[in-house]
């Protein structure tokens, strides 16, 4: 299972990559594996302000549906609109083409509540 060491993680199996005051957010390799073939993603609107760990969207796979929680709070500045046409990217490349939202961070200190790769490895199993 792929758990890149340069990312931060939530217990809900999302990852965040912080560059300056912008965080890119997606779901982990473990998450995509447990969901199975992802067919649809519902993402928030650009401009929406979201709290840390808030429910910001929905991920549908063939047989199940899962809420998307944002690991960090702030303002949505970009969503991955290519996912609509190619939801398989979430399965194939969860840390790259499968990214979901970019957030302008409200409070960078929130990152302290997230896990590093080593700590996340401990919970990424059934």
């Amino acid at each position: 299972m792929n758990i890149p060491s340069d990312l931060l993680y939530s217990k809900e199996h999302e990852w965040a990559k912080i560059e300056g005051d912008i965080a890119t957010i997606g779901i982990t390799d473990f998450a995509q594996g447990s969901l199975g073939d992802i067919t649809f993603v519902e993402l928030p609107k650009v401009g929406a302000k979201v709290e840390q760990f808030a429910n910001v969207g929905v991920i549908e796979s063939v047989k199940t549906v899962s809420d998307l929680y944002t690991p960090l709070g702030g303002e949505i500045v970009e969503v991955n609109s290519a996912i609509d046409a190619d939801p398989a990217a979430l399965n194939n490349d969860p840390y790259g083409a499968g990214w979901l939202i970019k957030i302008k961070l409200a409070e960078p200190a929130q990152a302290k509540a997230l896990l590093d790769a080593a700590a996340y490895t401990g919970i990424a199993h059934d």
Binding site: D37, T39, F40, E60, V62, A88
Partner: protein
């Protein structure tokens, strides 16, 4: 099974056959629409195919050959009560006097239909211990929604709008939480105890003055009788909440125990399960909603009312000599749930089934449904895990978890292998609390021979799984199509025919 086998190709889509002008003429030619309406209101093009009657008859007959129904074989679908659908009921529903009656026919010209509705309503009220039923809702989920709207209005009238929580056990049908959400209630999910039942201690933890309704089915979806139901109902009533009975499993209780006596205030019945209405490929259903006396005024409109006619309204089932009307003037009602009064043709079928049984027959129906389920459970437990090894009601669950660990074969594979052997699959992966769940409900209309054949087929699949798991995972192979690429279906939805080129 031969007619469902792979040796015949699918008929082409109806849109890809025929030729303009080939349709059989059922009415005379009309004058051009332009003689009656200005051209800007008219369609320029009507892109539907013209097929001859023979071609249409062949098309749908061939489609029927690619469809499995109860008439073809055993249908042990848990929680769906796939019992025999007696033909006499259809014949009666199709009597012209019933079939051709317009819903706006004046009451005095619709006395026969009103009598049907009245007799059914009275009988249901007695069978299930409710004060009255509304025949208005179209299906079980529709009646659940109506029931929660009744509860919401009832609490509003009592000044108790703070009651916002609906308690739903984790074994509940998915419609329960979905219906609650449609009424703006917050759903509290309740874990089952080790015996697979709602725990009185757990429910007391979540009860309070914000409790609106507790939705339960009894027996529950594990097929187990909630033997502490009276205590649960008392606890819910103590905090001022209402008890709702999901009647999906009512085939297990007729003449044996009544929701009203168990403490339920509202309930629905799926007549398309318990009362032999044909499922018709997923509808039309019929979901009468029953309520206790304090909620009668809130029932959806209209209700059938006996006109006293000088005589006292005896409120008994046989309707001879009585007159009826549709009552729309009910100020506390939640209002209508659907366009017209009821899925009336289904009310006819349900009443006809009641006449075939009477009170004693219904009691026997439930007893034999439970007998069949337990016989099947004992047989299946010889080769599959039954997580709750005790007397069940109308259905039970088995788990393929052990088999999966041993062989890789899952519940889904067993389901597909059954299709190759001429049986419908059980309900799989429900209830959610049992891993690799197979939920089986044989119903009372199946013979011991059929149950024996099914047990042996299942045994043979499990044995094959241990010897040659790949062959089970490859199933079905004898059906007209193999397993379908559902990922592709969902990622690239193709939901309609389009003219190519």
């Amino acid at each position: 099974m031969s007619q469902l086998s792979a040796d015949r190709p699918a008929p082409a889509l109806i849109f890809e056959t025929g030729a303009p002008g080939r349709a059989t003429e059922y009415v005379e030619r009309s004058r051009p629409h332009g003689e009656f309406l200005p051209p800007e209101l008219l369609r320029s093009d009507l892109p539907l195919p013209d097929n001859s009657e023979l071609d249409v008859v062949r098309h749908f007959t061939q489609l029927s050959h690619r469809t499995f129904g109860i008439d073809l074989g055993f249908y042990p679908l848990g929680s769906c009560t796939m019992k025999y659908n007696p033909r006499v009921n259809d014949a009666i529903a199709n009597l012209p006097g019933f079939r051709d009656l317009h819903p706006y026919a004046p009451d005095e010209l619709a006395q026969g239909s009103l009598a049907v509705m009245y007799e059914l309503e009275r009988s249901l009220s007695s069978i299930f211990g409710m004060a009255a039923f509304s025949l208005n809702p179209s299906a079980g989920a529709h009646a659940e929604l109506a029931a929660l709207l009744v509860a919401k209005k009832y609490f509003k009238d009592r000044g108790e709008s703070k009651r916002t929580k609906v308690i739903v056990p984790d074994t509940a049908h998915g419609t329960n939480p979905a219906s609650a959400a449609m009424c703006g209630f917050k759903v509290i999910s309740l874990p089952s105890d080790a015996r697979g039942r709602v725990s009185v201690e757990e429910i007391e933890k979540v009860l309070g003055d914000d409790t609106a309704v507790c939705m339960m089915t009894n027996p529950n979806t594990l097929g187990l009788f909630e033997d502490r139901i009276a205590e649960i109902a008392a606890a819910v009533h103590r905090v001022g909440g209402l008890m709702y009975y999901d009647g999906a499993n009512a085939n297990a209780i007729m003449g044996n125990v009544r929701p009203g006596d168990m403490g339920f205030d509202l309930m629905h019945l799926n007549t398309h399960k318990t009362f032999t209405i044909p499922h018709g490929g997923g509808g039309a259903g019929h979901g009468p909603l029953g309520v206790a006396a304090h909620l009668v005024d809130y029932l959806p409109t209209p209700v059938v009312r006996a006109i006293p006619d000088g005589k006292p309204d005896v409120r008994r089932a046989p309707s001879d000599g009585m007159r009826f009307e549709l009552d729309f003037d009910r100020p506390k009602s939640i209002g209508p749930m659907r366009s017209f009064w009821s899925n009336f043709a289904h009310a006819v079928r349900a009443l006809s089934y009641l006449y075939a049984n009477g009170a004693e027959g219904l009691t026997s129906v439930s007893q034999l449904a439970v007998l069949n389920a337990n016989y099947l459970r004992v047989g299946v437990s010889e080769f599959l895990t039954t997580p709750y090894p005790e007397i069940c009601r109308h259905e039970f669950v088995a788990s393929a978890q052990e088999l999966k660990k041993e062989t890789g074969v899952r519940a889904l594979d067993i389901a597909k292998a059954l299709l190759d052997r001429g049986f419908m699959a059980p309900t799989v992966y429900f209830p959610l609390i049992v891993p690799e769940c197979l939920m089986m409900e044989p119903t009372e209309t199946e013979s011991k021979e059929t149950l024996d054949l099914f047990i042996e087929a299942l045994r043979e699949i499990v044995e094959t799984a241990k010897r040659d798991p790949q062959s089970v995972m490859a199933a079905p192979v004898k059906t007209v199509v193999g397993r379908i690429d559902e990922t592709r279906a969902a990622r690239q939805p193709d939901l309609r025919w389009r003219q190519s080129g």
